[in-house]
């Protein structure tokens, strides 16, 4: 009988791989095609850009058009939405690794690799859960997080397992505890190969981003500090070409973790096309000696195009880089009254952004004006970095009262602060297949 069992255990086709070793499982996490991608719906709904009317009405998919004006039903029945599907594919990759690992023995010889693999899988899953929560569940609010509906937290590779929604609190608890475990298990401090592999710095960076989103500013600041203590270098923008169409590349030294928004969205047109433009007010806020004005943007007729993403690609970079963490740390210092430290961080960042010898370090700013200055520079530095939507949701909770406005063909659309439309609807095919509760719009 045992002999028969062995006879039938042979793999049927050599190219049909069933990953069984740590190395083979690790290859799954190196997949750039399915991993390192985030939903774009938030950025698409944000206020850093605008589309001309005819471009807006000619969008390829209904939700490209409808999300721009925060319509109630954005999908009009269409399913197969990559905004939802791609992050959950990443969750499946992570779950496959986590599940199949349990069949392997953790030995003295492989303990380092074993733990590292688990850390990476946990990080990749946490990243996807966090992305999804920014789009498909309400902003984190300690008062209501226990009741607000979060996202489905799938922790199994079994496609037969049911899909249910967790609460917002459960969602963030899972993200935080997975990241804490990953932080303990991860092997390397800094990611090699251009930030494609999670390392301790990326985990701290994401923890900082998560805590900032939860408005837990003290922790956000601490994690930003931890990240910057591992890697804190900034590029002097004077070393970059202001005329190049790709001034920043994949070897960008500020990169901590590589990630982009999914490619299916109208945002990428802002890189080259007429009819797509960066918000003119935002553009006007860059001063003449600010090199970012030339390095980030190019003029295309009346339209202001955004040059390629922070890692050189057409798709929008939303990974982790040191500049984001300088701004987060500065904000958290400012919020906790450590104005000098905040100013120092802000000046450090800006002096690397301005034309050599032109930047006059800020001094004397305190309290709310300092915070406002940091938040303005945050918007200017992190333009088209996939973070504006998170900030809008967070800052409106803080009482910033930012109202978004779109003008299209003589018609005006607005999105009021804390509007329930800051939570996007779940794709209809998911609702149909699972019966989970749809978000209110």
């Amino acid at each position: 009988m045992a002999c028969k069992k062995e006879f039938l255990d042979k793999k049927p086709i050599s190219s049909l791989n069933v990953p069984t070793s740590l190395e083979e499982l690790n290859l799954l996490l190196l997949n750039k095609v399915d991993i390192h991608k985030s939903p774009a719906l938030g950025e698409m709904s944000s206020d850093d850009y605008y589309m001309a009317t005819q471009e807006w009405s000619g969008q390829f998919l209904p939700y490209f058009t409808n999300s721009y004006v925060w319509a109630q039903d954005i999908y009009v029945g269409a399913g197969n939405i990559s905004e939802w599907n791609i992050p959950y594919t990443q969750v499946l990759y992570a779950n496959v690794v986590l599940e199949r690992m349990t069949a392997l023995d953790r030995t003295a010889d492989n303990a380092g690799d074993y733990d590292d693999l688990r850390a990476k899988a946990l990080f990749i899953r946490a990243w996807a859960f966090f992305d999804l929560a920014q789009v498909f569940s309400p902003p984190y609010d300690t008062q209501t997080a226990g009741q607000d509906l979060g996202i489905p937290i799938r922790q199994t590779a079994d496609i037969g397992a049911p899909t249910t929604r967790a609460t917002v609190k459960e969602t963030y608890d899972r993200i935080l505890s997975d990241l804490q475990e990953a932080r303990r298990l991860i092997k390397l401090d800094k990611s090699v190969v251009n930030g494609y592999m999670p390392a301790k710095a990326s985990i701290y960076g994401l923890l900082s981003r998560v805590c900032l989103t939860m408005r837990d500013y003290s922790k956000a600041g601490l994690y930003a500090d931890s990240t910057l203590s591992i890697k804190g270098n900034l590029i002097n923008y004077n070393t970059l070409s202001t005329t190049a169409s790709v001034p920043l590349t994949i070897t960008n030294e500020e990169l901590i973790y590589q990630n982009t928004l999914v490619s299916a969205n109208p945002l990428s047109y802002t890189v080259t096309s007429q009819g797509y433009s960066i918000d003119t007010m935002l553009y006007a806020s860059y001063e003449a000696n600010d090199l970012r004005k030339l390095i980030f943007f190019s003029l295309n007729g009346v339209y202001i195009n955004k040059k390629r993403g922070y890692s050189g690609g057409i798709t929008i970079f939303n990974g982790i880089a040191t500049d984001e963490l300088y701004l987060t740390r500065a904000e958290c210092y400012a919020r906790s009254g450590q104005d000098d430290k905040a100013l120092f961080d802000l000046n450090t960042l800006l002096s690397s952004r301005w034309k050599a010898g032109t930047y006059i370090p800020l001094s004397g700013l305190q309290g709310k004006p300092l915070l406002d200055k940091i938040l303005l520079e945050r918007r200017k530095e992190l333009v088209f970095r996939g973070l504006r939507w998170n900030d809008l949701r967070r800052l409106n909770k803080e009482g910033y009262n930012i109202t978004l406005v779109r003008n299209l063909g003589g018609k005006q659309y607005t999105l009021a602060p804390n509007d329930i439309r800051y939570t996007l609807p779940i794709p209809p095919d998911v609702i149909l297949q699972t019966g989970i509760e749809q978000n209110k719009r």
Binding site: L8, N17, L30, N31, I159, Q258, D429, V430
Partner: protein, 1169 residues
Amino acid sequence: MYNFYTKKLWAPPRTISKILLIMRLSTIILMTVIMQVSAHSFAQKITLSETNVPLSRVLSEIRSQSGYDFLFTKSVLKDARMVSITVKNEELGEVLRKIFDKQPLAYTIEDKSVVIKGKVPSFLNWLESAFATMDVRGRVVDEKGQPLVGATVRIKGTNRVTRTGESGVFTLTGVLENAVLEISYLGYKVSEWKVMKDMGIVTLEVLTAELEQVDVVSTGYQTLPKERATGSFVQIDNTLLNRRISTNLLDRLEGIASGLSFNRNTGSSLTNPSTLSVRGRSTIYANPNPLIVVDNFPFNGDLSAINPNDIASVTILKDAAAASIWGALSGNGVIVVTTKRGRVNTAPQVEVTANLTIGEQPDIYYAPRLSSASYVGIEQFLFDKGYFNARITSTARPVLSPVVELLVQRRSGQISAADSAAMIGKYARTDTRDDLSRYFYRSSANQQYNINVSGGGTNQKYYFSTGFDRNLTNVERNNFSRISVNGSNTFYFMQKKLEWTTALNYARNLIENNGNTSSFNYPYLNLKNEDGSNASVPSLYRKSYIDTLGKGRLLDWNFRPLDDLAQNDNTTRRLEYRINTQVKYQIIDGLDVSLQYQYNEGNSLLRLYNAPEKFYTRDYINRFTQISSSGVYTRPVPLGGILANTNNLLMASNLRGQLSLNKQFGKLHAVNAIIGAEAREVNENMTSNRLYGYTEAGGAVGINYQSSFTLIPTNITGMIEAGISQLNKSNRFVSRFANASYTYAGKYILSGSARKDESNVFGAATNQKGIPLWSLGASWELSKEHFYQLAWLPYLRLRLTTGYQGNVDNTLSPQVTVSTSQTLLTVAGSPFSTLVSPPNPALRWEKINMKNIGLDFRLSGDRVQGTIEYFTKHGRDLIGMSVVDPTTGVATFKGNTANMKVRGLDLTLNSLNLSGNFSWSSILLFSLAKDRVTKYLLNPSSVSSAITTGMSPIQGNPLYSVYALKWAGLSDTGNPQVMLNGEVSTNYSGILNAADLSNIKYMGPANPPVFGSIRNDFSFRKWSLSVNVTYKFGHYFRESGLGYGNIFGGSTAYSEAQFSARWKTSGDEAITDVPGIVYPANSNRDNVYNFSDLLIQKGDHIRLQDINLGYDLMRGENSRLPFKSLRLYTYINNIGILWKANQVGLDPDYFFAAYPNPRTYAIGVRAGF
């Protein structure tokens, strides 16, 4: 005649009575059938009033009143009692019942005749006679009077057996008076004899080959008399197999087997097509082909390695009762091939076959094509529109057609208007196909030779054969040759209780594939220059560029098709051998145990050698040539040839142990059963590699595969193709099986089979559950019943079966599967894996439930006999795509989610229309198989994907369906219009991308649901003629329309008739449906027309497939002949279509093909010595 006949029966002469004693029933029935016509019109109501008269007298009276004959031997009546009866106008049956009630006799009504026999004795009767015994003695001889030593003599229905001794003599003591002896000897007909004290000389008749083949069906596990089988079988005997001349075995089955269809019209554009199907299609993604079994084991090798001349017979297993013994492999039906074997006690028999088949040159003008003149016109039109400007100025120097080159020269004033007009005019009159047909195509010539010798001694039999085939196909330099050698030997030991067989089959194929006929871009090329040298044709880059580039330091960059034709060296060599050994031991009479092993290995080496002179090689070397800024030329791809090798190795092992029971219990009960287990492993290894700088002397040069090079003249970068790959497959099965049938009184049969398969392909859960695939069947021979009275239908049998067959898609796994990319696409600089499929622990076999109702019948006179069968096939748990909750990480999932249903009918009708010196028989085959997808969880995403994909399963329709858009005429500007959401539309992208599938019209199935043939066989003295007409009905195909986008891009594969009938000016929309030219072309607009129902044609057609004419000579007639038998024959195949439904001149079996199979003419001889 009537009188003579009855007289004979009333008082049979001595000799006849003896025969009657021996072969009672069958002979009588046969004779009665002849008489039956005259007995037809008599009344059947009887009036009688008799007291105490002899039975014979009463019967005589009934005969004259009813017209029924009474058949009996005198001895039967000697025990009859006197009869007293009074009836008035009563039914014959009732009268007979009254008479025979009190008689020690039984009667049956057969064919308007009443056969009277002694009553089967009751238990008490049996006891009475039980002690009346005697000693019996006899001598068994063959037809020549030679004693048969070791023949089995059994008292029927008992275990008492003896064997004949030295001089063929046997004795048995204490045999019951009414016992019957059953005498058998291998290779001879089993015969039964009533016991007598002195049996005298018993002569056994030789079992002829026909009997062996016609009466027995083989499932690959057992052979059964057809009369004992409940399932649906088609047998094709040796004669029928030899009717067609072919190199390949499967070709010989076309048009002669009911339910077997050759799907010629599905084309290669379909997803997962099958060229051959038994009773339609019942799977979607799993293996769609029937299982082919050769000598009891699944055949995994290349069928072209089997020489059809070595095949004794083919049995096709169509329903569950027939096929489910093959379990998980049987879902598409099973074709069981049995090779020839020797016969014991037979002098060596030699058979020699030789034939030559000549095929007509293919008609390469068959496929639709624009004329050269039209094409030149379009080029001029495009040139004027500026279509070629970008190409003309491109630094990559893409090739321009000769006509465009002339137009460029004209525009720049290099040639005069008159010269350019003259030269362009010449192109308009030139047709590339003229030279293609002259230099690339030819008449085919296939030679086939085969010699075999078979025979055997008392304890041994053998078969040896050698065959040689040499085919020159209809494409120049494409050839096939095969040498096959076979041998099999069987030895018998221990008084034939132990049997050992070994067989070795070996074949070596050589396939030369050197005639690359891919068309050469432009419709107006000459392949020869006027001076007779081989012409260069425009290929990749402009000639003016390649002739000057590199100032002579690059290799010649001209493409000369005829040079390449001579240089091509593309061969596949295949060695295939099969060893088979079997040991069988008879434990007790009727119970055998056997062990069989087969190993099959096929090794094919595909060798594609591109000589240094070939365009491919020169181009490859040139493209990679690096020119440094200082003008130094280096060649990363070295000079010399490029050799690509692909090696496929297949190894299959099978082991089977089996216990077989074949036994008659008493007079009424017979059991036929097998039980066994088997294991099977099929391994396939594929490796390929590529050598550069190859020389015939064995040289090859190391290559830098890692670096990127800038290519000439495109300046894009590329890497040198390493061409290294490997793939290993391994399928393993462990199976247990059992099959039993029980026959009662020769008229009721119950059968059942069960099989459990386990394999390395399927999930642990499914393997452990091990739900067996099973079948049940029953058969009832109505015509053997007492009450059965249909004289015109003397044989009628009803068969009912149901059961499950299985199927496998071994690309799936229950475990999570990934594919690993070795190409370093990711910026992470490492290979990476992609998830192919999430874990699916519930993966299981596809299960096909098949129900079959069959009726076998024979009309009186044996002139008409046939079988009609109705079946349903219900495929459940079929592998299909389904939509799943994307939160799982996948949006679609391939698993056991689909269902399909096939309903159908098979009718076989044989009729003997004329017999005698001139005989004429007809065979009608009619098959219906309609498949329907009954459950499928993923709809095509759009109208255009439903129409264009090779397979779009849509619930309610056949798997392969033809869909179209609803045509709504041309607009007044010559634009095509179709219906979209109920309105006439020209929103082409909207039409094609619509998700609402109600916008497409289901036209019908792509495979013919109705097919069959009518064969007429004539013979006159030594001449025989066989004509086969085949037909296919009920299917549809799409003729090619007109795609301006493709035409502008250089395609000419469209109908000239449509092109010239296109819309040209306003008002034409009233007379034509062909859209007008627009510039620039709009491929969506083209497709809307091309997908419209206008272009859907009916596939119905009737074809005169082939004619075989033969002349037979036998030695018996002329003893000076050096051979025993000789057949001379001629055979014409692919004769032509007799009728077709479509009016567009396309052969529905070849609507997409370059040309239909050319007609072939063969002559041959088969001689036996």
